[in-house]
Subunit: 152 residues, 2 copies
């Protein structure tokens, strides 16, 4: 005879299998931090990627689009409109590259310098906010372990 197993409903979802995976946990944590980042950085009208570009240009005057592309794992075609956007907002300037006529060096304007300083302050705040459950030592350990993965 055939026994049809009863179809029960579940109350709480068991995610323990997924939670054994580093990839799953990394993605969940990334989603939480990203959400806080987007909310708090909206006052500067900056998305995550725009903040990253501004930061790299600020700390690497003369950086090229190709170098940004490589450093942020963004494909060159997708960088065009991003750089155009912060250029039109008067945050960065394009200067001819000193040695390579094909390339263009990016530099922050004084408005860009000001906004980056404010945005970095906001970023530091929201970081502490979204990782408030971690001690300073744990935060340091977490960053070290994550870097071991993506620098490997």
């Amino acid at each position: 005879m055939t026994v049809t197993s009863p179809r029960k409903s579940i109350t709480s979802v068991d995610s323990s299998a997924l939670e054994t995976l580093v990839g799953y946990n990394t993605r969940r944590a990334s989603l939480v931090i990203t959400e806080v980042f987007v909310e708090r950085m909206a006052v500067h009208d900056l998305r995550m990627v725009e903040f990253s570009i501004l930061s790299l240009v600020g700390h690497n005057p003369g950086i090229t689009s190709r170098q940004l592309s490589s450093a942020l794992s963004i494909l060159p075609p997708n960088l065009v409109s991003l750089v155009n956007g912060i250029d039109k907002r008067g945050l960065v300037e394009r200067q001819p590259h000193p040695v390579d006529g094909r390339a263009v060096g990016l530099h922050l304007t004084s408005a860009g310098e000001t906004l980056l300083a404010e945005a970095e302050h906001t970023a530091a705040q929201l970081e502490m906010e979204s990782t408030a459950s971690l001690s300073a030592a744990e935060r340091k350990t977490l960053i070290r372990l994550l870097q071991k993965i993506y620098r490997a």
Copy 2:
């Protein structure tokens, strides 16, 4: 007089400012693991989200679409085509919910059980592969710290 600062080119990119941020490091690590995941899981024709759904259905027989939506932070409309896809592949079955006439309980078929077992084996392997630079203790610590963030 106006002094124009010389426009130099940079050789290596300094990302140290971004690297002080937990959010940046989490995202970079997530990108690396995701890349390995996509490559290795292609043999099962499973994307990350499809593996996650299969795992939750497998370990929570009778789970509803709404519960999946909540557990994976996927909006209900975006879950429809995903569940339809693995349904058409014969990996899951929809059964009427025992107590709620609006809901539908999801269950793995035997083909789904088989594929999930294989995919979980692949996932465990690629996890070790993409986090090979971590010791077992470090991997455990990393997961614990990440969970403190997204469970906060």
